[in-house]
């Protein structure tokens, strides 16, 4: 009886020590941040960016105001106008990062995937006024994200042009409906 308990105790001890020593020799997950950049998933919901067409020439946004409407924290302020071809285009687009909760609804609701959340997670400023990103800032962020080859938190990968985007979006709508309990027709 005593021998059994001693045996169990020693077994437990050895198991505990083994766990800690393997942790000691394993590579940790923490990264010394400013020196080394941590791994960030492509689906990370970071700072917003306004994306362009693949040739980086024309902005995608059609000024439909859906993102401003869906935003739960009302951090998007936008104003539309017409361009020379009488298409709806953005005149003003402000995102208040101080209000944003990074829920990603704007990205989901956008019919043309113009606004996407990029992986840049280390956005800081010394004043609250700087936390309001204007159209130019957002375009800059979007362009640099495109240069990095990012496709936003939805993980949209474009194969050959714009069609794929709509296709992906429809699938996503279907999956969201499925999640919310609606029947999806196949």
């Amino acid at each position: 009886m005593i021998l059994k308990s001693v045996y169990d105790g020693i077994k437990g001890l050895i198991a505990g020590y083994a766990v800690t020593i393997t942790k000691f020799f394993s590579r940790g997950t923490t990264v010394p941040y400013p020196e080394k950049t941590p791994f960030v998933s492509e689906r990370w919901r970071g700072v917003h960016g306004l994306f362009f067409t693949d040739n980086r020439f024309e902005e995608l946004c059609v000024s439909c105001h859906l993102c401003a409407k869906v935003c739960p924290s009302v951090c998007i302020t936008m104003e539309g106008s017409e361009d020379y071809l009488q298409r709806k285009r953005l005149k003003r687009f402000d995102v208040d990062l101080g209000r944003c909760i990074y829920c990603g609804y704007c990205e989901e609701v956008c019919p043309v995937d113009a606004i996407r959340l990029t992986t840049s997670h280390d956005y800081v400023s010394r004043g609250r006024a700087n936390l309001i990103l204007h159209k130019e800032d957002l375009i800059e962020i979007g362009k640099s994200a495109m240069r990095r080859g990012e496709h936003g938190a939805l993980g949209i990968r474009r194969g050959d042009g714009k069609k794929v985007v709509y296709q992906e979006n429809r699938n996503l709508d279907a999956s969201f409906k499925a999640l919310s309990g609606e029947r999806v027709k196949r």
């Binding site: 001890l13 505990g16 020590y17 766990v19 800690t20 020593i21 942790k23 000691f24 394993s26 940790g28 997950t29 923490t30 010394p32 020196e35």
Partner: protein, 350 residues
């Protein structure tokens, strides 16, 4: 005389440096085990920015974030912070307690043989401060004296946390002194000497004592952990229950003295175990080693003991108070007594 003075000064200096960096090593090791980074911000990188001599320290730029400057920063912080004294404290016991608690530990190092005798400038120099020939007795006596610092600190702070911590500490220290003494006694009977230097010589001739007295070694190691208030026996300073135990009311350098005293106690325990059970300065598979190799071997063995302590700290949870007492009185003391009797019978028969 001068030589002894020099040796003791060197000993204290080296000891303080070792303790400071052992704290850093412990923090890094425990952090590694908990998959954290540990202190890695403070370094000596600033030296490389000095105008001319900075070139000498250029290599330190790469060690900028290794945390090597952390002990120095901690030390400066502790020296400069105010030593607050509670209004209701009993003044002189309160002020003396840190000194009483660190003094026996530093004194204990006087008898530790760090290496074989060396020839220096035509003189025979022993690598220990005091040649007592009663080393183990002396160490046990000092270990008992250390309890006074703990009791005085807890009582004179006039605070419930301190008093509870010191009560626990006292009970624990007294309980674990018995198995420690008994196990050391069986080692003494086996080696037929009470001097650590002669014990090392004995082990040079007859093999390490850890192989011939494994039970005594285990008991001494466990009891030494408890004596040094180390995890899993760190009840006197259980952070989650007693704030900081008997030195709750201390701050600044006085707190640092307690802290250093505890760490040095661990070093002392490691040195004692190394000298008595791990062959001291003998180098395995290396008959007549040069003296510096012996000293290195001694340090490596103490370091291994410290690493095992850190490993233990991050593995085992703290014991409950009654378990702690049961473990000593019903577990270690009978085992140590049986071991002692068996060793005595063996020694009488041979």
């Amino acid at each position: 005389m001068v030589l002894t003075l020099l040796k003791s000064l060197m000993l204290v200096g080296v000891l303080l440096g070792c303790v400071a960096y052992a704290v850093l090593v412990e923090r890094r090791v425990v952090a590694r085990i908990q998959t954290r980074m540990g202190p890695n911000r403070v370094g000596f990188g600033i030296l490389s920015t000095l105008p001319i001599i900075g070139r000498l320290f250029g290599f330190l730029r790469y060690w900028k974030f290794s945390g090597l400057g952390q002990p120095i920063a901690d030390g400066i912080k502790l020296f400069l912070s105010e030593a607050i004294e509670p209004a209701n404290a009993y003044r002189w016991p309160y002020r003396l307690a840190p000194i009483i608690s660190i003094l026996p530990v530093v004194m204990g190092f006087a008898v530790i043989p760090f290496g074989p005798d060396i020839e220096l400038l035509g003189r025979n120099v022993k690598l220990h401060v005091a040649s007592l020939r009663l080393d183990i007795l002396y160490l046990l006596a000092l270990g008992s004296l250390g309890t006074y610092g703990v009791i005085l600190a807890g009582w004179s702070s006039n605070s419930k946390y301190s008093l509870l911590g010191s009560l626990r500490a006292t009970a624990q220290l007294i309980s674990y002194e018995l198995p420690l003494g008994l196990a050391l006694l069986s080692a003494v009977i086996y080696t037929k000497t009470i001097s650590l230097g002669e014990a090392v010589e004995f082990q040079l001739a007859n093999g390490w004592l850890i192989f011939s007295q494994p039970l005594a070694f285990l008991i001494v190691a466990v009891a030494a952990l408890a004596e040094a208030n180390r995890s899993p026996f760190d009840l006197p300073e259980a952070e989650s229950e007693l704030v900081a135990g008997y030195f709750t009311e201390y701050s600044g350098m006085r707190m640092a003295l307690f802290f250093l005293g505890e760490y040095m106690h661990l070093f002392l325990a490691g040195s004692l175990i190394t000298a008595l059970f791990l062959g001291g300065w003998s180098v395995p598979f290396f008959g007549a080693a040069p003296w510096w190799l012996g000293v290195i071997s001694f340090c490596v063995k103490v370091g291994a003991f410290l690493f095992i302590c850190m490993w233990t700290r991050s593995t085992l949870p703290r014991l409950r108070y009654d378990h702690l007492m049961h473990f000593s009185w019903k577990g270690l003391i009978p085992l140590a007594a049986i071991n002692l009797v068996a060793t005595a019978v063996w020694a009488a028969l041979l």
